[in-house]
């Protein structure tokens, strides 16, 4: 959107993009017909984003559930390759992402380029975990009886991801990739104030090898959508990074109803201050583990 001025200088009226929801591999508008104005960091209007409804959210959960078994059944190596492919495709659209991140976050072009580069590398880092996480988290347990006993991680299922509010792309990728690499599927609520890079990411996902329904992405009002997501009975886990402080108690209480696993933002860390470019802090295998179930198998040994 930042190139609006440039193109009018060139004397050509540019074709603007409609920012839509991403549900089950398709790009619908909100069934409610509602939208909201997204502004840039200096208050300039950027675009109208869809204001998703509860019904959109329920559709997204339904699509995620439908894609869950297939995604979980992929081999680890295949999932790794699929994630890596997202990085490949983002690399080809670097400039578009950089322009959108710059507009959304009010950062200089060089900084935006770095944020996009990091986001791409983050996919690669998590892609590499696909066929390693079970080797790090799983293992054989030397039980004191004639049994072969081992523990393996399996995906949790449908994960609601409340994306970081401030870091529109890098923060989102850093939260989404660990969910996917472990074999879970996601319903993402994008940053309310900075949703546009997330929508473009969904366009990349749609043309990547990520199957439709594995990632579903909604834009809208956090306060309207988060409580519905947290209370949804067919959502297995919640990444609560982007849940506003004043909603935390009610969201976690709602999540308790069907014993959702809630991945909280670590104590003492605020969304506003977290540095997503710090690999040591923002790349963590325990974020993959947050959306894994450990399965232990016993089998007798004997003739």
């Amino acid at each position: 959107m930042s190139d609006v001025a440039d193109s009018s200088v060139a004397g050509r009226i540019d074709v603007r993009k409609t920012y839509k929801l991403y549900i089950g591999g398709a790009f619908p508008r909100s069934e409610s017909g509602r939208s909201y104005l997204v502004s840039g960091s200096r208050g300039e209007p950027l675009a109208n984003a869809c204001r998703a409804s509860r019904k959109d959210l329920r559709e997204a959960v339904r699509a995620a559930r439908g894609a869950s078994d297939g995604w979980a059944a992929r081999t680890a190596m295949n999932r790794g390759q699929v994630l890596y492919r997202v990085a490949e495709l983002m690399e080809g659209r670097r400039d578009q992402f950089a322009a959108e991140v710059a507009a959304a976050e009010g950062v200089r072009a060089g900084v935006a380029q770095e944020l996009v580069g990091r986001a791409i590398d983050r996919w690669v880092w998590y892609a590499g975990w696909a066929d390693k996480i079970s080797q790090v988290l799983g293992g054989v347990n030397p039980v004191a009886a004639p049994y072969f006993d081992f523990t393996i991680p399996e995906p949790t299922g449908v994960v609601g991801v409340v994306a970081p509010e401030r870091s529109s792309l890098l923060g989102l990728v850093s939260r989404l990739a660990p969910v996917l690499v472990g074999g879970s599927v996601a319903v993402v609520l994008a940053s309310e104030t900075r949703p546009l890079p997330a929508v473009t990411l969904s366009e990349v996902l749609a043309t990547s090898d990520v199957p439709g329904g594995v990632v579903n992405l909604l834009t809208g009002w956090t306060k309207e959508l988060v409580p519905v997501l947290a209370a949804h009975e067919d959502v297995d886990a919640l990444d609560a990074w982007g849940v506003p402080e004043d909603l935390r108690v009610s969201v976690e209480q709602a999540a308790a109803e069907n014993i959702k696993r809630v991945a909280r933002r670590p104590a003492g860390i605020t969304d506003a201050r977290f540095d997503w470019t710090d690999d040591r802090r923002a790349e963590r295998p325990e974020w993959i583990a947050a959306f894994l179930e450990m399965k232990t198998v016993w089998h007798p040994v004997g003739s």
Partner: protein
């Protein structure tokens, strides 16, 4: 009569071996070479008895030829060494020839490395390691390795065809096993390059330095990937010597390194004979030696490394027992047995070359096995229907032949199906020996060919005893529907890999390597990474 099995005229259905444009394949050449190859002493029956076919009769159906086109491979007449990112001739200008074992035709001339070249390669690798690769952030090393994996995937057909031309292995196998697995190895270790702190918690993993790697001819590209991928991921640089009969895929891999933009000197390829391999592992500038090959050469290398600070891993020979219990799923077991020993012409260190069958099912199993053998297609490696291709070299064919003759002389009963062999090239029939005793050479020595020795047992104890009664300990197979018995057997078998109700499965995440004289160290998985790092305190 029995000799007839050696002298089938080629039928028009028989794929023209090697050359798709060879005109009328039925014209001409009776297999004049048969006598020369010394395959004379067949005493066993031919043709599956259950079909009521007479001696020497071909199976009653055939496949149309389905040759894979060779033109995807643009062979150059000459290939140089790959040192410091550039192709160069050897210091004395010497070359050797790599031959297509299915046609005995030369494929290309290859520069033959000298010890001066080895020295140059090791110095290039040292410079590359200390000046850049070793200190490059893991994330960046990972990206190079991901690139290599992607290029191998993109050029997979080219690699598969070249590999089959140079090694004699069936295209079905190079296409579906060797090349995809090679790419997968780079892929897997790419992901470790920036996660070493999770592979070795509480420790700091440092590269060893320069790795000298010597690989065999049975899986040329795959063994290259097993060696190079973990070495590079951990921050080492390598000098690799491919086998002298199969250097071409390694030299094509050198092109991939250039295409991936890999810094010069990180990978160096120095083809040559065994002496050059010894010169490489003995070079004082090398920090790590990794060898895959025979136990005999492994011993020499271990001696050469003795008293130095070089780290060493050896993946050596095997004489795997494939153990079938009376409750095994029989048809599945038959497939596993066939895959276990005839995969890659039996030129596999972990081949299931000793079949141990529980006595009560020995007869029906052997009958079924003979029927199955009759359907194995031996021939042109580039034919997509071929199950068993050419033996890798004349020398290897002679070794297999000699051991099979020893088997007959020592009193075992030989069986070979009545398949037709191409008139040229190094081919050997799938072979089955029954009435084998543990003392026979064919039950003790690694044949490295499509030769299966069948022994029987009565109790699990006896099976374990026989299976472990070998200096080798690379792999083993267990076939039974009973899970607890599988796990008992896996506990008692002295082998680095045990396959249960399957055989010859490989994966980059899964460690592979031997007990006892089959070597030490593991390739694949986190353990494979461990072979290329020095662990320090934080």
């Amino acid at each position: 009569m029995a000799d007839d099995t050696l002298t089938h005229p080629r039928t028009s259905e028989e794929p023209a071996s090697g050359d798709a444009s060879a005109g009328d394949p039925s014209a001409g050449d009776a297999p004049a070479g048969a006598g020369e190859r010394g395959l004379r002493t067949w005493t066993g029956p031919v043709g599956p008895a259950s079909w009521g076919l007479g001696d020497g009769q071909a199976i009653p159906w055939d496949y149309a030829p389905a040759p894979e086109a060779r033109d995807i491979v643009r062979l150059r007449p000459r290939y140089g060494l790959f040192i410091d990112g550039r192709e160069r001739q050897s210091s004395d200008g010497a070359v050797f020839t790599s031959v297509d074992p299915s046609t005995e035709e030369p494929l290309a001339e290859i520069a033959r490395a000298t010890s001066a070249d080895i020295d140059r390669a090791v110095r290039a690798a040292r410079r590359a390691q200390s000046k850049g690769w070793g200190s490059l952030p893991g994330k960046e090393r990972a990206k190079y390795l991901f690139r290599i994996a992607r290029i191998l995937q993109e050029r997979s057909r080219e690699f598969a065809v070249l590999e089959s031309m140079d090694s004699g292995k069936p295209i079905k196998e190079s296409r579906d096993v060797d090349v995809p697995l090679a790419a997968a190895h780079f892929w897997y270790y790419a992901g470790w390059a920036d996660k070493l702190e999770y592979a070795f918690p509480g420790r700091v993993a440092r590269p060893l330095g320069v790795a000298a790697q010597v690989i065999p001819w049975n899986f040329p590209l795959l063994m290259l990937s097993w060696k190079i991928a973990p070495a590079l991921a951990a921050g080492n640089t390598v000098v690799l010597k491919p086998a002298s009969t199969t250097p071409l895929s390694a030299l094509l891999f050198a092109e991939v390194c250039v295409e991936a933009g890999l810094p010069p000197g990180v990978v160096n390829i120095v083809p040559g004979p065994g002496e050059i391999g010894m010169a490489l592992v003995s070079h004082p500038g090398v920090d790590k030696v990794a060898f895959t090959g025979s136990t005999e050469v492994g011993r020499l290398i271990a001696r050469a490394v003795a008293g130095t600070d070089k780290a060493l891993t050896l993946e050596l020979g095997g004489k795997a027992a494939n153990i079938v219990f009376d409750d095994a799923p029989l048809d599945q077991a038959i497939e596993g047995i066939v895959n276990g020993i005839y995969f890659n012409q039996g030129e596999v260190c972990c081949a299931g070359s000793r079949l141990l069958v529980q006595e009560s099912i020995a007869e029906p199993l052997i009958e079924k096995l003979k029927d199955r053998l009759a359907t194995i297609r031996v021939g042109d490696p580039l034919d997509k229907n071929t199950d068993v291709g050419a033996i890798n070299s004349k020398a290897q064919l002679e070794r297999i032949t000699a051991l099979v003759e020893a088997g007959v002389e020592e009193g075992a009963t030989l069986y070979q199906p009545a398949c037709q062999l191409p008139p040229r090239g190094y081919f050997f029939r799938p072979t089955l020996f029954t009435n084998v005793a543990m003392s026979h050479r064919i039950a003790r020595e690694e044949i490295f060919g499509p030769v299966l020795s069948v022994l029987t047992f009565r109790t699990p104890e006896e099976a374990i005893e026989k299976a472990n009664n070998t200096p080798y300990g690379l792999s083993a197979g267990v076939w039974t529907e009973k899970g607890s018995r599988i796990l008992l057997m896996t506990r008692r078998l002295k082998a680095g890999v045990v396959w249960a109700n399957t055989f010859n499965r490989f994966d980059p995440t899964s460690p592979f390597g031997g007990y006892k004289e089959s070597g030490f160290g593991r390739e694949g998985g986190v353990h494979g990474l461990h072979a290329y790092v020095r662990l320090e305190d934080r």
